[in-house]
């Protein structure tokens, strides 16, 4: 297993490098990073030349890319184009915030989706089943940012009407969040709506997979055997059927990590959360290639880790699969 994991990591290194090189190449091909700087009213040609030379923008793309790669271990992705602030500390901060949001949303989504999927498979073609299906179709057909805005409208209006603030509709924390338990309660009241937003699409997807996989298992021979030997229906469902039905769903949840991060871009922008998504949008708006490249690399590594976890979990849950 360890050999397999190591091999997988080694194989994914070139893929990550290739993807960052492609994006880097694309960025340098289409964008002039100095365009905005050049348009600034009080900038001299000498200053522009200085930026160009110190950044190595006069070099060929491949040389620039290697320079960029070399800057990562010691320099931590270097500095922003417009100022000398370091990229890595910012990226660490936003990554931590986004992980709080994404992990909470994913765990809750998995719990809800498994419940929905199991119950609708057990009662196939029931009213409950049809309602879950309809909900899923709405989930697939709804723009994420729009759902976030609807939540904001509803909760702002509840606050305006009753003067009771259940959940906050923007920002990550109150100005004075306090410490310890008070801090986390405050954080939860800020993250509740973003979590709900991220959950809609995840629950819609995962519950469909769970239902399909449960339906397949529920009609298999060993489940009939379990029932025939007199086990209670609950035991059959939970201990026999559900355990095996979970296998594909676990894989799907880990594989869709990239999609969830994409969803976080929209969610964080709407709720003004200081996370990866908002960071990405901010520097994309400024056309600053350095933080964008750093963002893509960190995200790619996160997705690779998630995919690896998916593979290993798959082998752990299904003993028929061996990695040697």
């Amino acid at each position: 297993m360890a050999t397999y994991a190591l091999r997988r990591v080694l194989v994914s290194i070139p893929v990550v490098l290739a993807s960052t090189f492609l994006v880097f190449f694309f960025v340098s091909l289409t964008g002039d990073p100095l365009a905005d700087l050049r348009a600034a009213p009080n900038i001299s040609q000498a200053q522009l030349d200085f930026v160009r030379e110190s950044r190595g923008l006069d070099q060929p793309t491949a040389v620039q890319y290697v320079r960029w790669l070399q800057s990562i271990p010691g320099d931590g992705f270097g500095t922003y184009l417009r100022n000398d602030n370091r990229i890595w500390p910012d990226l660490q901060r936003v990554l931590g915030n986004t992980l709080q949001l994404v992990i909470a949303a994913e765990i809750l989504s998995i719990i809800v989706a498994i419940t929905l999927g199991v119950v609708s498979a057990k009662r196939q073609y029931s009213f409950f089943d049809y309602s879950t299906t309809t909900f899923s179709f709405f989930g697939f057909s709804m723009p994420v940012f729009w759902f976030a805005l609807i939540l904001q409208i509803i909760f702002v209006n509840i606050f305006l009407a009753t003067d009771v603030r259940i959940f906050y509709t923007a920002n990550l924390s109150a100005p004075n969040p306090g410490t310890g338990l008070a801090f986390w309660v405050d954080r939860f009241r800020h993250l509740a709506l973003p979590i709900m937003t991220l959950m809609v699409i995840s629950v819609a997807t995962y519950s469909r997979y769970m239902r399909a996989s449960m339906l397949e298992v529920i009609h298999s021979d060993y489940v009939r055997t379990a029932r025939a030997k007199g086990l209670r229906e609950g035991t059959v469902t939970v201990k026999h059927a559900m355990r095996n039905a979970l296998i594909p769903v676990v894989t799907i949840t880990a594989l869709s990590f990239g999609t969830v991060l994409g969803g976080a871009i929209v969610t964080e922008t709407v709720f003004g959360l200081d996370g990866m998504g908002l960071y990405f949008i901010r520097y994309l708006g400024q056309r600053d290639p350095y933080p964008i490249m750093a963002w893509l690399l960190v995200t790619a590594v996160a997705v690779v880790i998630a995919n690896l976890v998916a593979d290993l979990l798959y082998g752990f849950l299904d003993p028929r699969i061996r990695y040697d």
Binding site: T30, S141, F145, W146, I265, I281, G285, V303
Partner: protein, 323 residues
């Protein structure tokens, strides 16, 4: 999933000589013996199943109405896209003066704006579906049929696409290439989405090329192109059509997201995502500015997804699942 279907089909019944991939076990008994009407009866089978899918039928009617409204936007919309009615500012949805979706603080009629925005959404959705299906089918077919370097490159591209969040890549592309008009945005979206379709076609072709009827076609002297496009492609049409349909909804949602974030279709061109962003500043009181364009998006995508679901059910009789 489609690979499963094809692997299982021979068990149920001998594969049909040509056309449709439906296992013929479900055919009515009196038709089973007549090979010459087999092809038509499979079409009938498909049609009957599709017509029975109530959600898909309702969706076709609604979507047709939406498409017609978008095509004839100038005739349907009571006001112009940027027309300002000074007397009707900040009105909630009402039938009075035909402000069905209300007006904003400047007095622009939101129903008219939404109708023009729908045109953009549908244009992008249709364009992306057409482009990515055409490119994805050809490249997927070549990769699945010949394997070799085309296949190797396609699989490496898939690896890349799987490793970076699609939305982020599209945002970078749109920001650098400059979104702007719907056609350009459509090309940018298709540039990423075709990979998914190519993978599906590759999968079907990989399993089809081992089938006996392909061997038979080759033995009777058919060339590669003839085998690929006359024998294999018709038998892969099911998944291709279903995915082309679903791509329309995906593309419409992504376009709306890009436009909402300010990287997609740019004002003054109408786009539903940009409309929602416009309405944001006043949304806690003038909720209709956000709710109405969004509901339109939901309606379009729901219709498209239901039609895709109906097509899938009708084309894949063994598949129970409707993800």
């Amino acid at each position: 999933m489609t690979d499963d279907l094809r692997a299982r089909a021979p068990e149920t019944a001998a594969p049909a000589p040509r056309g449709g991939d439906a296992p013929s076990a479900v055919l009515p008994a009196e038709e089973a013996g007549h090979a010459e009407i087999l092809a038509r009866s499979q079409w009938q089978l498909f049609r009957r199943k599709f017509l029975r899918h109530k959600a898909a039928m309702v969706s076709i009617v609604v979507l047709t109405a939406i498409v017609l409204a978008a095509i004839f936007a100038e005739q349907v919309a009571p006001y112009g896209f940027n027309e300002i009615n000074v007397l009707d500012r900040g009105i909630r949805p009402t039938v009075e003066n035909q402000h069905f979706f209300g007006t904003d603080r400047l007095g622009r009629d939101y129903f008219s704006r939404v109708v023009f925005g729908m045109r953009t959404s549908l244009l992008v959705g249709g364009l992306v579906a057409l482009l990515s299906t055409a490119v994805g089918t050809v490249i997927g077919a070549i990769a699945g049929f010949y394997r070799g370097w085309v296949d190797a490159i396609l699989m490496r591209m898939t690896d890349l696409v799987l490793i970076l969040p699609g939305l982020a890549v599209l945002l970078v592309a749109a920001a650098l290439l400059g979104g702007g008009d719907p056609i350009k945005v459509g090309f940018i979206l298709a540039g990423l989405i075709w990979v998914q379709l190519a993978r599906i076609v590759r999968g079907t072709f990989l399993s089809l090329r081992e089938k006996e009827y392909i061997e038979a076609a080759r033995a009777s002297g058919a060339g590669d192109l003839r085998i690929m496009f006359r024998h294999m492609l018709p038998n892969s049409m099911g998944p291709i059509i279903v995915n082309a349909t679903l791509v329309v909804a995906t593309a419409i949602l992504i376009e709306a997201t890009l436009s909402f974030l300010g990287f997609g279709v740019q004002p003054p061109r109408p786009a539903l995502g940009a409309l929602i962003n416009d309405g944001r500043s006043a949304m806690t009181t003038d909720w209709w500015l956000v709710v109405m364009p969004g509901l339109t998006l939901v309606a379009i995508c729901l219709c498209v997804n239901f039609i895709g679901d109906g097509l899938r059910d009708a084309l894949d009789p063994t598949q129970q699942e409707t993800v």
